[in-house]
Symmetry: C2
DNA sequence: AAAGATCACGTTAGCGCTAACGTTGTTTTC
DNA sequence: GAAAACAACGTTAGCGCTAACGTGATCTTT
């Protein structure tokens, strides 16, 4: 095999009558060389086709430009959007992003994090705030810059940026209550898989409970949170005996659209006979003939803020430990108009 | 900062009275140590909390376990599915996957590839077969194992696995012709951005042309290939003067669903007044009340085959240079029933 | 039973780069 | 104008690991 690096900093130094160290300094942009020498070195490097050996750099300096980012899944638009926000910032700052998908498995995440450390990663970015206790402890002990995103906590491993999922669920419930829906059902994935979704559901349930209302049904389907999963869960839910729910709150907009399709196919009148709510305000919601009532989550911005903060941490700066970005209710056509503020039964 | 690697192979050797080399061999699973010693070393490594320094490994051996994968975008379900297929295989074989998103920019891809080489990547995986000529040449010269996926060519950089996009477009056109649609229009993104989509379109156009039919309209919207882009392009297309198309072929199912929504909102009768066709058979198609006529692409399998082949290449094995996986037409409800096989005008 | 083959290890010499500490000549300071 | 400070370089000594080449003991082979 042709040698990949026919030219190293030694060769540049030889060509210019400089020591390796001066070349190294010039190329890395650190102090200790005159402006003229630096320009010469950079030009020579380009001319000679020099490429740095990143492994050698990392080994010698015990630092790398690798940032490990762990997300549950590449499906759904949520994580790609957050990632896009992050990567733009990381790329610009010269970091390489190494993405892992955990498939909602924290043990896998912990293994992967350890491998990232084997690479001397500059920082780790983890989704959510629920991780293996060992991993938490280890990252803290090592003082590795770590960003947790999407969820929030007042005690992050290092820094975090996210939304308040419980509150988002509660906000949605409050709206549904205001619309007069009194027999809510929830559709999601098995408990413990997506802890953010669990928190949203907890917020929803608690808010309904404080109005004295219990959930009619909670369907958890062991499937990715897809259109189809939403449709399947809705079919089984509507086929169940007992009181029929008057509003269905889904884990996200994709499941909600699956449910919406099912309800329409069954001829249910939406939003009167049954209301539908999603989460995230995903792209599909822009073109639906009947936009879904949902919660808008600031995904790209979250990625940008997170990336900016973690880069600051890498550079040793002090940053806000915990950033919580507000979410916003988006009222679509899949829920009834809210009752007037005069009271829950003042109008219809 | 606590030292990240408090224990190296030297420490294990000291503890066991062995040389570093024996430890290294035992840990890497290469020949040259007895079975008993190997077990001892592995146990000691675990007990002592040994973690390999990947940078040191790469530097010393001039090989790494990093595989760089370049895809245009994480949006749309296409690439995540292919990636999922690949990663399962890569993970299992002990490789770390480093994903880049090029945003359909080949210069960016070339830059990124060069950085992967700086990391001593074991292999590169590139989307499509259209790359910067310099990059092609360089990867060939260096004899870096390289997989091109999604598209095919008889002269790949190294190995490739994909589908025949031109033929997929032609197959679709043949079906649309058989359905009696004679005024086709096409909706996609600007030419040159997504060369696979360009090839599909070429196949479509050529097939219609060989039946003596020109496209009524070709709309290229400068936007990601989203639901919304499909809707917007369809609106502008239907508002245009001149003959109205009787069938709309979209870059993918998401754009097609955007277009379908628009047509339904405008009260057009589907599939009689206007037919709709997509591409990829994306997940949403499972739950649409009116499934879209589309082409099924084998995405997960493509990822698996590609990963398997490139791993074989890394190990120096000889593999099929070019694997073309067949696609399949899926007839939905958005196109008319094909005319009987008696001939194009024998029935209706 | 001598010569070669094989096994299980050890030694040597880096991989390409950088941290830390020189060294030299030129400024600054009071 | 001598001491101190600084700028612009060079030297030394690794980072943690592995390729390549020993070495001595045991096992074949004929």
């Amino acid at each position: 095999m042709t040698r990949r690096t026919p030219v190293g900093i030694r060769d540049i130094g030889d060509a210019l009558g400089l020591s390796m160290m001066s070349v190294s300094r010039a190329l890395r942009g650190v102090e200790g060389v005159s402006a003229g020498t630096r320009i010469e070195v950079i030009q020579a490097a380009k001319r000679m086709g020099y490429r740095p050996n990143r492994n050698a750099r990392s080994l010698a300096s015990a630092h790398s430009t690798l940032i490990g980012v762990s997300i549950p899944s590449l499906f759904s638009d949520v994580f790609p959007e957050i990632l896009d926000g992050m990567r733009a910032t990381f790329d610009h700052a010269g970091f390489d992003t190494l993405i892992d998908t955990t498939h909602y498995n924290t043990a896998r995440e912990a293994d992967w994090a350890e491998r990232m450390l084997d690479w001397n990663a500059a920082a780790l970015v983890l989704c959510g705030v629920d991780h293996e206790p060992d991993l938490r402890r280890r990252l803290r002990d090592l003082r590795i810059p770590t960003l947790e995103f999407w969820d929030t906590t007042d005690d992050p491993i290092d820094v975090c940026v996210g939304i308040d999922h419980w509150k988002a669920g509660a906000d949605l419930a409050e709206h549904l209550l205001a619309c007069g829906y009194t027999r809510p059902a929830f559709i999601g994935v098995p408990e413990g898989r997506d802890t953010r979704a669990d928190k949203r559901l907890a917020g929803l349930v608690a808010t309904y409970a404080s109005a004295g209302i219990d959930a009619v049904d909670v369907r958890r389907i062991d499937h990715r949170a897809t259109f189809e999963a939403g449709a399947l869960a809705t079919e089984s839910l509507l086929a169940a005996e007992g009181p029929r729910p008057d509003v269905l709150a889904y884990l996200n907009d994709h499941m909600a659209f699956g449910g919406l399709s099912t309800c329409m196919r069954l001829g249910l009148s939406i939003p009167d006979a049954i209301g539908i709510a999603g989460f995230n305000d995903l792209e599909i919601n822009k073109i639906l003939p009947m936009p879904i009532t949902t919660i808008i989550t600031p995904r790209t911005r979250m990625g940008e803020i997170g990336a900016r903060n973690i880069i600051a941490r890498i550079k040793g700066a002090v940053v806000e430990r915990c950033v919580t970005i507000p979410t916003e209710l988006r009222i679509g056509h899949t829920t009834r108009a809210p009752l007037s503020s005069g009271g829950p039964f003042s109008s219809n």
